[in-house]
């Protein structure tokens, strides 16, 4: 079940061989460590490129987005089974 969140979050990323990957997320005072990337895809909001990462922790799947104009991260949704 997916819960829409749409809140700004703080993300720590790693960068290896031209690929950037979110590693940690701070949201509502708690830090989440991502263990796996499910899917990375892109979309456009008008002419702004948005990167969307589906990141997995032990408990849930987090859909986070990076606005390439503002460079702000947003937690879009949380999916649990």
């Amino acid at each position: 079940m997916a819960e829409q969140i749409k809140e700004p979050v703080f993300i720590v990323t790693s960068k290896t061989s031209r690929k950037m990957l979110p590693q940690f997320m701070e949201w509502r005072g708690r830090t989440y460590q991502f263990i796996h990337l499910g899917l990375h895809h892109t979309t456009f909001d008008g002419d702004i490129l948005i990167h969307i990462f589906s990141m997995v922790t032990k408990e849930a799947n987090f859909q986070i987005s990076l606005n390439t104009k503002t460079l702000l991260w947003t937690l879009e949704a949380i999916e649990t089974v």
């Binding site: 499910g38 895809h41 979309t43 456009f44 799947n61 999916e79």
Partner: protein, 422 residues
């Protein structure tokens, strides 16, 4: 008349992403992997299932089933709504990957592509190293499967069919799912057709099967062994001749023809109404306006103007109505198309609508090419261009008209079936 199987090598590859939408959702969310998942138009009981995961298919769930029927089979079923952006992205990634093998890649639908490998460096390299055409194609297909896993997603599998033409390649891709790799050549065509029924052939459903049965053709193998004239007689048209050629590995007709988007003959949008309103109801008009605005932005985006407009509806009593009109001067502005569709809807039967659709046809690729001194026309061009610039910069939802303000139903992004519709 050619009476033999084609001598063309099996260089056509048909690639079909298994359980496309559901598999992509499982790729995005690893917690869903190994679980029965369906992607449905709506989560409610009557929502139509668009794709079922491999696990859900093992329970007997399939495309077209209702959510309540599927939940009756498996109560722990995960029902997801479609995310078209994700599917389009995977489609683009697959297209790019396949283009690294051949420049002749055809997108058949969101999850199906055809690759023509003849005369490509990869195929030629394999042939020059001593492999047969079939061996070369199988080697390339295995490499493509591996690259899909590595570069697109580990959970995404494809079934690949290899044959001398697209029809047989598609038939081959349907032989084993998921993760199949099958070849149809002259040496095994009879064996393959023996294992199929008439309706297993893509393009033959109840009607065509009945036509063939009336001429004593009850199996694909019998169809294969029948003369071209008999098939032409059975189908009552040149289509019968095409069927004979397709089964014998020849590439003919328009079904699998390589097309460019320039050959688009029409654009259309349709939507099922959540409330079954009447044609002249304000709620219907709001939906029609949204459909027109979306369609107009699409065909203007491709540089077209249109001369014809069509409007139609299917009603809750399962009847259907449509009307079209053709103009002598071209149109492109959203308000003009909306005005024309509204005048067409004045003739619609006053009955609750199930699905409404609008379309434009008779297209010419010369948007804004006509010079004019008419001040009204110049203002319309400037206004339409400004609207399209706003759409391009801020997205389609950035501006709307007063007609659609407070619309009870907003048109959501959907993936249509077929080519040129992604």
């Amino acid at each position: 008349m050619t009476q033999e199987f084609t001598s063309h090598p099996p260089t056509t590859m048909y690639i079909d992403i298994n359980s496309c939408f559901a598999t992509i959702e499982q790729q995005a969310n690893p917690l869903l992997r190994g679980k029965p998942v369906v992607v449905a138009a709506y989560r409610t009981g009557n929502g139509c299932i668009l794709a079922a995961s491999v696990e859900a298919k093992q329970y007997g769930m399939k495309t077209g089933m209702r959510v309540y029927e599927a939940k009756h089979i498996c109560s722990s079923l995960v029902v997801l709504l479609p995310d078209p952006e994700k599917y389009r992205y995977i489609n683009e990634r697959l297209f790019t990957l396949l283009q690294s093998y051949s420049q002749r890649v055809q997108i058949q639908s969101i999850d199906e592509m055809i690759v023509h490998m003849d005369e490509t460096p990869e195929f030629t390299k394999n042939i020059l190293s001593g492999r047969s055409a079939v061996e070369s194609m199988v080697k390339i297909a295995k490499e493509i499967k591996e690259r899909i896993r590595e570069e697109i997603g580990v959970w995404i599998t494809v079934s690949i069919g290899i044959a001398p033409n697209a029809f047989l390649a598609k038939t081959a891709s349907n032989l084993k799912k998921p993760d199949g790799l099958e070849t149809i050549t002259e040496s095994n065509i009879e064996q393959v057709l023996m294992s199929l029924t008439l309706t297993d052939l893509c393009g033959i459903k109840k009607g065509n099967a009945a036509r063939l049965l009336a001429h004593g053709i009850s199996t694909p193998l019998a169809m294969y062994g029948t003369s071209s004239d008999t098939l032409q007689h059975a189908f009552g048209s040149i289509i019968g001749r095409y069927w004979w050629l397709w089964l014998h590995g020849w590439e003919v007709g328009s079904v699998y023809a390589e097309k460019s988007h320039v050959e688009n003959k029409s654009f259309s949008q349709s939507c099922s109404l959540t409330r079954h309103t009447l044609p002249k109801d304000h709620a219907t008009i709001q939906v029609v306006y949204q459909l027109v605005a979306k369609m107009a932005a699409r065909f203007r985006g491709d540089g077209f103007v249109a001369y014809g407009v069509i409007a139609g509806a299917s009603f809750t009593d399962r009847t259907f109505w449509q009307k079209h009109t053709k103009m002598t001067t071209p149109f492109y502005a959203t308000e003009d198309i909306f005005f024309l569709t509204q005048s067409l809807f004045q003739h619609a039967p006053v009955k609750p609508i199930h699905t409404v659709f609008v379309g434009v046809y008779d297209l010419k690729a010369n948007l804004y090419a006509q010079l004019t001194c008419d001040e009204v026309e110049l203002k319309k061009i400037a206004r339409t261009q400004a609207i399209d610039r706003i759409y391009a910069r801020f997205g389609q939802d950035a501006i709307t008209t007063a007609v659609t303000l407070e619309a009870s139903q907003k048109i959501v992004d959907r993936i249509a079936f077929g080519k040129n519709s992604l």
